[in-house]
């Protein structure tokens, strides 16, 4: 079960972060998800992985471009990221977030800095930070359903057992 709304401190990173940057290719040959969480963003900032638990990740535009590797979003989920907010996402990364049950919100012109508390709500599509409220692009009903189930695995498990 994924929480579609929550609050946490912001961790802010830049724009055009590719998935090689989220989890380097050298860590892909394993089934141990903990390894991905431990090495998340290693080539960007080796201290970042330790700050991800319970955070809301705020990035610049085109988050998650490049390789389709799902290990990137799994790394973030395993590391305890609550939600990812960006002005725009690379489409496969966006899809992958939904599919592993990691809330994503597309939000333009968000003003916030590292450590500030952010409240998000995927059901109504809002982000609140620093006394300001922002409206996000809404998710389709199917996306919300997958997200609420906790990802595609739970979604299909549910549908297959029905």
């Amino acid at each position: 079960m994924t929480l579609l709304a929550g609050t946490g401190p912001a961790v802010c990173i830049g724009a055009d972060i590719d998935t090689d940057m989220v989890i380097a290719g050298r860590y892909l040959r394993t089934k141990d998800r903990g390894v991905w969480a431990e090495h998340a963003f290693e080539d960007l900032d080796p201290t970042l992985a330790t700050r991800l638990r319970g955070c809301v990740l705020v990035t610049g535009k085109n988050m998650g471009c490049g390789s389709s590797r799902e290990q990137a979003v799994m790394a973030l989920r395993e590391a305890g990221v609550l939600a990812v907010i960006a002005p725009s996402f690379a489409r496969i990364f966006f899809r992958n977030c939904i599919n592993v049950g990691l809330p994503v919100l597309e939000c333009e012109d968000l003003a916030c800095h590292d450590g500030e508390m952010i409240t998000y709500d995927c059901t109504i599509g809002t982000v609140n930070v620093g006394g300001n409220s922002y409206i996000c692009r809404s998710l389709s009903p199917r996306m919300q359903e997958i997200l609420v189930s906790g990802g595609l695995v739970e979604y299909w498990k549910g549908r297959l057992s029905r």
């Binding site: 290719g25 050298r26 471009c65 390789s67 389709s68 996402f89 299909w156 498990k157």
Partner: protein
């Protein structure tokens, strides 16, 4: 009044559409992830195994025992489930699928970001992650958002020493790394019908570097002739004069010169002429962008009778391309010039094996992305056409192919 995406998906841009998937494929990297996820889903079986392909290309042959174990697990699963399986050396998934396995109008989903390559056939081809692939295995269908479209009108013809790869770098530079996010590109214009299938595949391959979902060509005589070689018949698709595009780009091939994407962004593109003399440690010719027979043949025509001055790795995109290069003598020319030939597949492209760069080294590659550390930690590399790569291999520094042709 429809774009090709709207026609194929049967809905207007911006809408969500649930579609039956005509062809679904994954590789050794994403396939093992999809299998783990599929196992967790607890499905009774694969919905349409005859439409699913598992293709070994990423780390093949296996480089370590760990990779070999994962290969073994997925290989056994593929054979049990009745899906098509392409063993190591068959080729890069996109090229393997391009060899007569995709038809115009199909919905094609690959668990790899460069699945957009197959839009060259007028198929709605796009990449997804491993969970989506597992979902397709379970259900035979997926959801897609019908993309808005950007038209690229191509006119004129290429000058000597200039390739469709240079055009690909030019449009990525023009659009930027996220300029086409959520969009489909459509390749149109007077010259589009003259561009051969290998050029279309290169051009569709790189659309994801601008964030696009797919890169579409309307099926025409080139498509029909190409698929005919594989015993497949196909019908034409006609562009709609009144289709609505969110953006239009005009590119005249006449004015195009050899280009390079410089480290570490695909959209930072400069003319080769500006960087001539930049010293290189390695040249790599291959990948789903430029590892086809025609690419190897162009490189060989430049390297014929010469010797490379830096280590040069050549990896054919598929077994079929490899075989053609063997039979035509292209491979003998490349080996004679001092190139190292790798088995068909991705080679060093994803930084796992067979020719990655060392710390501080500079490479030139015919691939599609030059992200920091991708092809070796601490290395940086330029992206170019096979002609530029071959000309540079001879001198050991970035060189203009027009000078040696």
């Amino acid at each position: 009044m429809e774009t090709l995406s709207e026609k194929i998906l049967g809905a207007q841009a911006g809408n969500f559409s649930d579609k039956r998937v005509d062809k679904a494929f994954c590789h050794d990297g994403t396939g093992i992830q999809a299998k783990m996820i599929y196992d967790e889903m607890g499905a009774p079986g694969i919905a349409n195994p005859e439409t699913c392909y598992v293709i070994y290309d990423h780390i093949s042959p296996a480089n370590t025992s760990q990779t070999a174990d994962l290969h073994k697990e997925l290989r056994e699963f593929a054979s049990r489930s009745g899906m098509h399986f392409s063993e190591i050396g068959g080729g890069i998934c996109h090229q393997y699928m391009a060899e007569g396995r995709i038809l115009p109008g199909e919905v094609v989903i690959g668990a790899d970001s460069h699945s957009c390559t197959l839009g060259a056939f007028g198929a709605l081809a796009t990449g997804v992650g491993a969970s989506d692939m597992a979902g397709i295995w379970v259900s035979g269908e997926t959801w897609l958002r019908v993309p808005e479209s950007i038209a690229i009108y191509i006119s004129g013809s290429l000058a000597k020493g200039v390739e469709y790869k240079d055009l690909a770098l030019a449009y990525v530079a023009e659009l930027g790394m996220d300029g086409a996010t959520y969009h489909a590109l459509e390749f149109l214009g007077d010259s589009a019908s003259e561009i051969p299938m290998e050029g279309r595949l290169t051009l569709s391959n790189m659309v994801v570097e601008a964030g696009a979902k797919t890169g579409l060509w309307y099926a025409d005589d080139v498509t029909r002739e190409y698929l005919g070689r594989y015993g497949k018949s196909s019908s034409r698709q006609e562009p709609d004069d009144e289709a609505v595009y969110s953006e239009e780009l005009w590119i005249d091939l006449q004015g195009l010169e050899p280009l390079l994407a410089v480290p570490h962004r695909v959209d930072t593109v400069k003319p080769v002429s500006e960087l001539v003399g930049t010293s290189l440690d390695q040249v790599f010719i291959g990948t789903c962008t430029n590892g086809r027979y025609e690419d190897l043949a162009r490189a060989a025509s430049i390297l014929d009778g010469k010797q490379v001055a830096v280590r040069t790795v050549v990896v054919p995109a598929s077994r079929a391309d490899y075989l053609r290069a063997v039979n035509s003598g292209v491979l003998a020319t490349l080996v004679g010039a001092g190139c190292v030939i790798g088995p068909p597949g991705c080679g060093p492209c994803l930084g796992a094996h067979m020719g990655v760069l060392g710390d501080g080294e500079v490479g030139l590659s015919t691939a599609n992305r030059n992200f920091r550390n991708r092809m070796g930690v601490g290395g940086s590399y330029y992206l170019s056409s096979p002609s530029t790569a071959a000309a540079s291999a001879i001198t050991g520094e970035i060189s203009d192919p027009r000078e040696v042709l």
